[in-house]
Each structure stands twice: as C-alpha cells, then as structure tokens.
C-alpha cells in the first residue's frame, strides 16, 4: 500500500518495485545479443593472427632486427612480403610499414632502430605514396612505441577477442545491408614479419577513391616533408645504407587520381631521390590488382615482391662489389 502523500511525489518510482528485475532482463538481453554478435562473427572485418594494434606493438620491439627494412604506409604493408623473398635476398627482412604513416624525423629514427647497421649492406626500401608525404598521414609518435603494461597484457592475451567486440563501421553496416553477411568480408591477416595480407569481398576497386579525393582537397603533398625525406636519404646513403625507393604499388585509377590531385610529381621526385644517393625502382609498371583501389591483392604483392627482390639483390651485389660501406657519420 503506497502512502497517499507518495502517490504524487516526484520521488516515487513510476515503474513500481520491479526495477531490479527489469534491469536484469535488460542486461541479460544486451549480453545475449553481444554474445551472438561475437560468436556468429557478424562484423565483416576479420583480424587473422593479430590486429593492426598488436602488430604495431610487435614492431615497437624490433631493435637491430633486420638487414632489409621495408617502410611506408598501409600500401607498403600490403605490397612487400618478407617471407616470400628472404630466400632470394638471403638476409633478414622485415616490413616496417604502418597504417597511414607519414615520413617524419621520428619515423626515420624508428627505422634506424629496426635496421641492423652491423650488416654488410644495411638496406631500406621506401614505399612512397602522396599520403605519406602529406599532412593526411599520421606522424609516428609515442603511441606507436610506448605501451603501458595493461595495454601490453591485454593486447598480448586478448587481442583477437577484443577485436571481435569492435563495433561495425558505417561501411560494414552499409555493406551488410547491400550484400548480406555471407558475401561481405574484409580480412586483415597480419604476419609477424609485418606483411599485412588484405582481402575484401566483394572486391571494390573504387572504394578508397572518394576518401583520397577528399583527403587531397584538404592536404596536398607537403614540400617540407619531401625535402625532409630526401635529406634523410642523403644522410643514410652517406652513412653506407642502401636506400631503395619506389612508388608503392596500387591501382591505375588511384595513380591517376593522385597524379591529378595530390601535387606529387613522381618523375621529379625520383630524380631528386637518385640525386640524394638513393636507387629508384621503376621496373614494375604493371597495373596492380587491388581489393579496394588502394591495397594490392596477395598475388599482386607476391609477384611485385619477387621483382623488387631481384632489383634489391642486384643493388646489394653492386654495392658489395664497390667495397664495404664506409660510414661517413653515425646514423641519426
């Protein structure tokens, strides 16, 4: 029996006394839906082996770990396959490409950390994209190097479980509605050597183009970043490091879009790259197959890596014939 004075009281629970029971039902339903979401794998994005975040953590632990280091943004991650070409080149290779990465002094320092300078011909292969030379790219920061113990523990032990709890992006949601869950997949397979094999079903060779079009409307290639990269190439080559550069493989449509909008002049850049002491690889002008207009498919990556490996091997042999590297100054 409710006291009469409480009937109109603002403090009376209008839902009656069954609040705790109803709250329990709410939580149970939410937990059930989330469990179904995880177990049924509704989210189209699938991380195999490890997530991008864990890969960054693995990469942060690389110290003097490779004789040949591949660098750049996610296109480099997708295009260079160390495990497939280590036999050809005959040394330790790692892919130190990182998603959205911009070439900054901090990133160069991190590349130095990964590269083992004690080898006969330390080699850096730079995948160049307009994004990596513009402010659209992400600068390397503490977040890519320093992980607090809780983050490290959860990433090491709960990586894929936590990834399965990630929300759907709007592209996931639209894709699911348009294609159905059985046909909509985006698989990101990160290997411990840094290669990220990306698969997107159904393939959409134009998916990334609008984003890049919008990005380059805001930020074109930054001449200061270009100059900084070329200065670093000169510094490395003076120090005896073989530096190979190339325009990261991508689709023809993306190349055309970037040539039109990004302000990147590949021929001029290659000339300046060579002048700084680097070697420019332009031997593979094939039209690359991509899943999304930006990142190459597995087959394209393997085929391109093989061609690049031949070039790198030839350059390393030529460097070896010219004599041992003379370090003019310590690497910085």
């Amino acid at each position: 029996m409710i006291a009469p004075e409480l009937v109109n009281s603002p403090h009376r629970d209008p839902s009656g006394d069954d609040g705790p029971r109803r709250l329990a039902v709410l939580i149970a339903v939410a937990a059930s839906v989330m469990t179904g979401y995880v177990l049924l794998g509704v989210r189209p994005h699938k991380d195999v082996r490890m997530t991008d975040h864990r890969l960054t953590m693995v990469q942060a632990d690389w110290v003097d770990a490779a004789d040949v280091v591949f660098t750049g943004d996610s296109r480099s991650q997708a295009a260079y396959v160390p495990s497939a070409i280590s036999g050809t080149v005959g040394c330790r290779l790692l892919n130190f490409g990182q998603q959205g990465r911009r070439y900054t002094a901090r990133y160069f320092a991190a590349i130095d950390r990964v590269l083992d300078e004690r080898g006969s011909i330390p080699t850096i292969v730079m995948g160049i994209t307009p994004l990596s030379l513009s402010e659209n790219g992400l600068p390397y920061s503490d977040q890519d190097e320093i992980f607090d113990p809780i983050d490290r523990w959860t990433t090491t032990h709960l990586d894929l479980f936590l990834a399965s709890l990630q929300p759907m992006t709007k592209w996931d949601a639209i894709g699911l509605v348009r294609h159905g869950s059985h046909r909509m997949r985006r698989i990101s397979d990160c290997e411990p050597d840094g290669w990220v094999n990306i698969e997107r079903l159904p393939a959409d060779p134009t998916a990334e183009l609008p984003k890049y079009r919008s990005d380059f409307q805001q930020h074109r290639v930054d001449p200061d970043l270009e100059a900084g990269l070329l200065r670093q190439v000169a510094k490395w080559t003076t120090a005896g490091v073989l530096v190979v550069g190339e325009r990261s493989p991508t689709s023809r449509a993306m190349l055309e879009l970037e040539d039109q909008l990004s302000g990147f002049d590949e021929q001029d850049f290659a000339r300046r790259f060579r002048a700084a002491g680097g070697r420019w690889f332009d031997g593979d002008r094939a039209a690359f197959d991509t899943w999304d207009g930006s990142h190459v498919t597995r087959d394209a990556a393997l085929s391109h890596s093989a061609k690049l490996a031949t070039f790198v091997l030839a350059e390393r042999t030529a460097s070896a014939l010219r004599g041992p590297a003379i370090r003019a100054e310590p690497l910085q």
Partner: protein, 502 residues
C-alpha cells in the same frame, strides 16, 4: 583494412576569411581545447568509475547525510581530478566562495548587496579569464588593426577548465536565491559541495538549482533503477550511435563545403548531432542521478517539435534557458516595463546566451539571430496565424526548424565568413550534387531518418490519449537490452561531448 584515420575537425578547418578575425585565427578561440583524459560517460574509465561508485553507494546511501555528502564530494573530485587535478582548486574556490557568501548574506543582511557583488566577481572573474580572455585579446587586436595599429597581442591559450560555465552558474544561482530570500543557505559545506560538484552534472550540466537538489540530497532517496536504466541506455544510444556516427561527416562537410545539398545536409546533420550529443549526455546524467534516487528534471523536450521559436527555447536546454530567464531577463526588467522593453531585454538575454556558449563571434551571431527570430515572432505573431491554416502546425514546425538550422550554421562554422558562405550556397538552391551527396553520406542519412522517425512518433503520440499496453511494458526491458547492445555494436568513433567546450 579500414582507411587510415586522418585528422579532421576544428584544428584542420580552413575556410573563408572571417569577418572580424584574421585568417590565421580561423579556428574558434577556445574550441578544440584540451579535454583529453576527461572521464567522459562513453569511456571505459567511466565504466570502472561508475561500477566502483555504485557498489559503494549501495552501502553509503542509507548512512548519515554527512557520510553521503562526503562520499559524493570525494567521488566527484576523483571524477573531475582525473582530467586535471589542478582545476580542483578552482572548483573548491568557487564552492567555498559561494558557500561562505550565502552564509554572510544571511548573517549580515544589511550588507548583502556587497556580498552578492563580491560573489559575482569571484564567479565571473575565473570564467572571464579562462573562457573570454583570448577572445577579448583577439577582438582588441582586430580593432587595433582596423584603426591602423599593429595589434598582434599574444593569446594566453589557457586550458579551459571543463564544466566551468556550468558550475559557476549553479553557484551563482544559489547565492542569488539566498540573496532574494527564496532559499535558506545550507550550514554544511559538504552538503553544498555535494550539490555543486555532483559528478553526473558537473562537466556539462544540466544546470541544477539549489532549491531543487539540496533538499533531495538531505534525505535518503529511493533509487529508481529502471527509470535510470532507460535514461542511461537512450542517452548512450543518442551519443554513441547517432551523434558520434554523424560527427565525422559533419567535420568533413564543414571543412570543405560544396554545393547547396552539401551545405543543407551539413546543417541538418549538425542539428541532429548537437541535439543527440547534448541531450544524450543529459539523459545519462539524469539516469545516473536516478540510480542514486535524485531527480535532475527535464533538460530537452524534443525541441525540433517546437512550432514557435519561443516554444523551441522552452524545449531546448531547459535548465539554461530558465536560468537566463530567472537571473538575466527578469532582473533586467522582464515584461514589467512594457512590451518594447521586454523585447529589448529578450534580445540582450539571447546575446548573452550566445556568448555563454563560447568566446567567438559565431556564437554572438548565433545569439543575435535567435534574438531576431524571437523578436519578429513576438511582433508579428506569425505562429498563431499560420497555425490556423490547414496543416498550419506542420508548416510552423517546418519554419521553426528552418530558422534553427540557419542559426546552427553559425554555431558550428569556423568563422562568420564561412557561415555566410555556407548560407549563401544553401539558399542558391542548386541541387545538382544531391544524388552524389546522399550516396556518399547514406549511413548518416539513415541516422537522420531514425531521428526523424522518433520525432514523428512523439508528434503523433502527443496528439493521442496515452494508454499503457501490458505487452509493451513486458517487452520494454527486451527493447532497451537490444538498444544497449546496438550502442556497443554500432558505436561511432569515440568523441568528447560537444558541450564540454562550453
């Protein structure tokens, strides 16, 4: 692999040269200030905080008032200090100043005017320093340039203490109520600090009145779990799914406005974003309050269903508009000195309200536009006339929405110039890029439709007698359970609440 994230938003906004500030200051002063690390409701840290707090509250809720107030104050200090512990000093100063002034007013009533003036100074000085100093410097700089001088005075770039506009206003209203004799000052400093710093409302409101909350804090309240859960879940849905889902597109659309459809969509999306963001925050705050048994009152009542601008302000940020009514408009003279003066006071109040939202000319113009629309409405009485036509109420609703959208462009744009350019583009009515714009933003359009459907439902139900259906009551927890899961599955990239910057 998802596309590489890139930075959009205030920091990278470029646009058109502002009217009153030079191009290099094309970002609103104070906007984008440091709020990183704040315990926001949609963060994992808050979940841990809330779990610990409410576990403790189960024990504390029935203890003596002093124990409850101490617990609430300490928890609120932890909540606020996690962001920046230095600003706890400011919160404490503000609290003690208001507490002692109220006591002094009661003790020495013949000197209460002096005490009130000192209290207003103590509250408004930090607000002016942290929030408006850079705006004043920039404006002085611009005027000096216009006069042919050098200008270029350095900005202070102080970190804006989050929530300062909210807790100073709460403190001031308490002292003013005591001054007016409408409220007895509390003798217990813990009681007052628990009221002022109570964590659900501390950083983004609602702006609570002491007369409303202090009595509730005095006696143990019955927790209203289900009521609170409904509010919290719907608040999270508004914030995490709708507001955060729209935020990226709004940033991009305002960063590089295109044709008419682009600009209209930008205005509509921002209207939806700011409503769901702020009312979502308020709902979560109210829900948390109800878990403790406290009622914070309504702060938003479907403002986009207003059929006049006057009604809009009775539905939007109710705690702020009633604050301005009671402590600015009425003290200025209200309607006591005739209808013309009333309009003038209304306009002044709107301008001050605009400036409260932020230190930028865009906010001033926003307030001025609202003032203009309200004054025109009062003078012509158009809502009443149009409402008599067939579908008149629908037309009124559309016209109010149109006016509000126009004002939102100023509220969100980086500068007055950019807002002007966007409005000019909007009213060119060139919809050649409509299809492409809609296709590019189909997900965001779906979110807009969702919000529209919700409002349409409320509009429809508001014209029908309400009756409770037992099946629906049974299904309610299931529905909200699904909504909670949807918050987790469909959440957008985590963002600060928009009103943190005010």
């Amino acid at each position: 692999m998802p596309p590489a994230p890139h930075v959009v938003g205030t920091a990278t906004r470029s646009g058109h040269r502002p009217l009153l500030t030079p191009a290099k200051r094309d970002v609103k002063i104070g906007q984008g200030r440091e709020t990183n690390g704040a315990v926001i409701f949609n963060s994992f840290v808050f979940c841990i905080f809330a779990a610990i707090f409410f576990l403790g509250w189960i024990v504390i809720a029935r203890r003596s008032p002093n124990v409850r107030w101490l617990y609430l104050t300490v928890a609120s200090y932890v909540f606020y200090g996690y962001w920046n512990y230095r600003f706890l000093l400011l919160l404490t100063f503000c609290g003690l100043a208001n507490f002692t002034t109220a006591l002094a007013i009661e003790r020495w009533p013949d000197r209460k005017r002096i005490f009130l003036a000192l209290d207003l100074l103590a509250n408004l000085a930090p607000l002016a320093l942290f929030k408006y100093a850079d705006f004043a410097i920039a404006t002085y700089d611009d005027l000096a340039r216009l006069a042919g001088g050098q200008g270029a005075a350095p900005l202070l770039r102080l970190t804006l203490p989050i929530g300062i506009s909210f807790y100073t206003f709460m403190g001031m209203s308490y002292v003013i109520d005591v001054y007016r004799g409408e409220l007895r000052a509390t003798r217990n400093v813990l009681h007052f600090m628990a009221f002022l710093s109570l964590f659900p409302h501390l950083v983004a409101g609602p702006i609570l009145r002491a007369s409303h909350l202090l009595p509730q804090l005095t006696v143990p309240q019955r927790a209203r779990l289900w009521d609170g859960a409904r509010l919290v879940v719907s608040g999270y849905f508004k914030k995490m799914v709708i507001a955060d889902g729209l935020a990226g597109a709004v940033d991009a659309l305002f960063a590089s406005p295109g044709g008419s459809s682009h600009c209209w969509l930008a205005a509509m999306m921002f209207g939806a974003q700011i409503y769901t963001d702020f009312s979502g925050y308020t709902d979560i705050a109210r829900g948390l309050g109800r878990f403790m048994g406290y009622d914070f009152g309504e702060n938003f009542d479907h403002p986009y269903l207003a059929t006049s601008m006057r009604e809009f302000w009775q539905r939007w940020h109710i705690s702020l508009s009633s604050w301005f009514r009671d402590y600015v408009y009425i003290p200025l003279g209200g309607s006591r000195r005739g209808p013309r003066r009333a309009l003038l006071y209304m306009a002044i109040t709107m301008l001050v309200s605009g400036l409260w939202h932020g230190a930028a000319w865009t906010y001033v113009v926003w307030g001025a536009l609202h003032a203009t629309f309200v004054v025109l409405e009062r003078l012509t009485g158009w809502p009443a006339r149009i409402a008599r036509l067939p579908f008149g109420r629908h037309l009124c609703l559309a016209l109010v929405l149109l006016q509000v959208l126009v004002t939102w462009v100023f509220f969100r744009a980086a500068s007055v110039g950019q807002a002007g350019h966007m409005l000019a583009t909007m009213f060119r009515f060139d919809f050649r890029d409509l299809r492409e714009t809609l296709l590019t933003h189909q997900y965001e359009c779906f979110l807009l439709l969702l919000l529209f459907a919700r409002h349409a439902w409320v509009w429809r139900m508001s014209h029908r007698p309400r009756r409770e259906i037992p099946t629906l009551r049974f299904l309610e927890p299931v529905f909200f359970g699904v909504v909670l899961a949807a918050c987790l599955i469909l959440r957008g990239p985590g963002r600060d609440f928009v009103y943190f910057q005010f």
